[in-house]
């Protein structure tokens, strides 16, 4: 009898072990299935993280694996916090995309440069990144690299002389659009060839960042362009693979106007479908006036002047021109036109535009054309605003863009809306996507003003009213129990 019981117990134990193993196997199989067949839904307000069908199509079309590195070195100021929030949102979006297509986009790697310096050095040397390539999203596809700055991901408005206490806020959120454009671009095999005119007194491409075009060139290269210099006065030929020729009419010394042979080469380049972007010198001519005139763009003598606000609610006339009016239909400015853009040039030439050219950027009505050199002063006979600061035209098969200011490419000025606008000009003139496309969206703000009344009411509700209700409930229950007993 006892043998029978022992045998039954042994059988029961074996059954239990088998049942447990079977259940473990089922749990494993179900989890493996869900691991590979994930269904994700974004229930958040605005569905900012919803991977749409077009996102999936883009990811599926990526021919190679794209890797992402985000080195973070954010200062603790209010502006730094806003920038960190934008980068964090971009990281989350990349994370979502990676989850949707793990075979196409690897999970992004973020590294805190200050806390994890050794790791950053290793990653930096592996990827060949510069020491200051922080606070950017670096995408890698094979040998190719493309970097997105915070300014590409969002339009952030900070303090201004008129509003010194204004906290930085994200006005336009372009995270999804920028990343989509960057992914489209990085998998392309062909680089955009950009040549920058040299040899007429222009700034060198490389060298000390204060007196070179290095910051500008780095930014273009980070967008998938290959940037080299070309001495047109020596060569006289623009290579056929050039997508965009940049003529920057300023430098350390005096800018020498381009000669007739160079102008002919540029005309041929335009006829062959190339792009030309001319940044005008502050004074004098650049040598391409005839080419520009043929396209309907002429440069007026003098500089644009405007009443400028200074800290302490002081205003005074200056040669700082602020471009606020954009052509909402032109491809260069269509994506920028929805934003409240403020392109600050100091100084800027004024342009006159006729058919077939289009004015891209103009000042408000408060600006005027100051013909007299020296201190600007508003006089009745001077031409009132709006003054045109940039124009574009299609010349033959090519594209010509003229901007009234050259100093925007200097490292100190290469930022904010002036940078965005010029990158958009480069993008259109070379006929390729150099820049993140798309207009972006206005972020939904759910911020409430925490005044004293709200603070007090929430404090007392959370610390006294709700726990007090629980205490009352407990006391009532105790009273009821005592009454029953």
């Amino acid at each position: 009898m006892s043998d029978f019981i022992i045998q039954r117990r042994r059988k029961a134990r074996i059954h239990v072990v088998l049942q447990l193993l079977l259940l473990l196997w089922i749990v494993w199989v179900v989890n493996v299935w869900s691991f590979h067949q994930s269904i994700r839904i974004d229930w958040s307000q605005g569905s900012r993280m919803e991977v749409t069908a077009s996102d999936r199509e883009l990811l599926e079309a990526l021919p190679r694996m794209v890797e992402v590195l985000v080195p973070l070195d954010i200062d603790p100021s209010a502006s730094g916090r806003v920038r960190l929030r934008v980068l964090s949102q971009a990281l989350r979006w990349l994370d979502e995309l990676s989850q949707a297509a793990p075979g196409a986009l690897r999970l992004p790697v973020s590294v805190d440069v200050n806390r994890d310096g050794d790791r950053w050095e290793v990653l930096r040397s592996q990827r060949g990144l510069e020491a200051d390539a922080v606070n950017r999203i670096h995408l890698f596809c094979g040998e190719r690299r493309l970097s997105l700055d915070v300014d590409d991901l969002a339009l952030i408005r900070g303090t201004s002389p008129l509003e010194p206490e204004q906290l930085p806020v994200v006005e336009v959120d372009r995270v999804r659009e920028s990343i989509e454009a960057a992914l489209r671009q990085i998998v392309q095999d062909q680089l955009t060839e950009i040549r920058i005119s040299q040899g007429s007194g222009e700034l060198p491409l490389e060298g000390s960042r204060g007196v070179s075009l290095q910051a500008f060139c780095d930014d273009l290269e980070a967008r998938g362009a290959h940037v080299t210099g070309v001495d047109l006065t020596l060569d006289g030929v623009i290579e056929t693979d050039t997508d965009l020729l940049l003529v920057i009419g300023g430098g350390i010394g005096r800018f020498e106007p381009l000669g007739a042979s160079v102008r002919r080469a540029i005309d041929r380049h335009l006829d062959n479908g190339g792009g030309v972007l001319v940044l005008l010198p502050s004074t004098g001519i650049c040598g391409l006036e005839d080419t520009m005139a043929a396209a309907g763009i002429s440069v007026l003598p003098g500089l644009v002047a405007e009443i400028t606000a200074l800290p302490g609610a002081v205003t005074r006339p200056s040669y700082a021109a602020v471009g606020t009016r954009l052509d909402p239909f032109h491809p260069v400015t269509a994506s920028l036109a929805r934003d409240r853009i403020m392109v600050r040039y100091m100084p800027s030439r004024a342009l006159q535009v006729s058919e077939p050219a289009t004015a891209l950027l103009a000042t408000g009505p408060g600006a005027w054309l100051e013909r007299e050199p020296g201190n600007p002063r508003r006089q009745r006979e001077e031409t009132p605003g709006p003054q045109i600061l940039a124009a574009a035209a299609e010349v033959g098969a090519g594209r010509l863009v003229v901007v009234g200011n050259w100093s925007t490419v200097l490292p100190g000025s290469w930022r904010l809306d002036a940078r965005r606008f010029l990158l958009a000009c480069c993008d259109w003139a070379c006929g390729r996507d150099l820049l993140p496309a798309g207009a972006g969206r206005e972020p939904v703000s759910n911020r409430i003003e925490l005044d004293d009344r709200i603070r007090r009411s929430f404090f007392w509700t959370s610390s006294a009213v709700l726990p007090g209700c629980a205490l009352l409930g407990g006391l009532l229950m105790a009273w009821a129990r005592r009454k029953d007993s």
């Binding site: 239990v16 447990l20 229930w43 709700l466 205490l471």
Partner: protein, 243 residues
């Protein structure tokens, strides 16, 4: 099924008439209420970030890890210690029904605690726009992860007849589940192991996904299967006396 419901009702009633339960409710509301208030100040009134800030801090995780074991510690341990479990079994109720009822009562009580916090959100919605999608998914996450943590509490309660030992064991088990997340620092992004760690990590599920309004089918699948597994093991532990 009706037996499970009536057993659950009996256990819930037992929980709500116990002074310990009301002390737990009081402490929970006081601590989480103040956390809510501090989170609101911390995010400077930005309601988009408030859900993640409230349901992602250390205090929140302390509550998640500790409350279910404290509620569940007496569920089976006390019954065994008093000898009432054998009496219950003589009524023809199966072991599985007892385990499910105990777990269900613990879970409902745990959910009741979180529901008690909703008036704060309702009050907030009178002055601003609360992200209801994120709030709903955060509570869904609390319910799912809480279901898993309650099931470990019931298992621990079945293993030992001392309530405090049961609570300590359950907290240790929950802590193990919680600490899975930190294994991810051993791997690089893109590693398969990292994705599996995220699959099991409660911190990832709540902190990175549900409190931000992202629902992933993996989360209910993992916590659902984990809960079933724990309840099955608990049933077998109860059945142990037969073999």
């Amino acid at each position: 099924m009706s037996r499970v419901i009536s057993l659950t009702r009996r256990d819930l009633l037992g929980l709500f008439v116990s002074p310990v339960a009301w002390v737990i409710i009081f402490v929970f509301l006081l601590v989480m209420g103040l956390t809510f208030h501090l989170s609101l100040l911390g995010v400077d009134g930005d309601l988009r970030q408030l859900v993640a800030a409230t349901y992602g801090g250390l205090v929140f995780w302390f509550m998640m890890l500790v409350i279910p074991p404290l509620v569940a510690m007496r569920a089976l341990a006390e019954e065994r210690r008093l000898g009432s479990l054998e009496m219950l079994m003589t009524t023809g109720v199966s072991d599985a029904a007892v385990v499910i009822a105990k777990w269900l009562a613990t879970w409902v009580f745990f959910l009741f605690l979180w529901i008690c916090l909703l008036p704060l959100w309702a009050l907030l919605s009178t002055v601003g726009q609360v992200d209801l999608g994120a709030l709903f998914s955060a509570h869904l996450g609390v319910a799912l992860v809480g279901a898993g943590f309650c099931s470990t509490g019931i298992l621990a309660s079945a293993v030992t007849s001392h309530p405090l030992a049961s609570a300590a064991l359950a907290i240790a088990l929950n802590m193990g589940l919680f600490l899975i997340h930190w294994l991810r620092f051993l791997y690089q992004p893109g590693d398969l192991q990292l994705r599996w760690i995220d699959h099991f990590s409660a911190v990832h599920h709540l902190g990175d996904e549900l409190t931000r309004g992202i629902f992933d089918l993996r989360i209910p699948v993992w916590w659902g299967t984990f809960t079933i597994l724990m309840l099955f093991v608990t049933t077998k532990v109860l059945e142990r006396r037969r073999w």
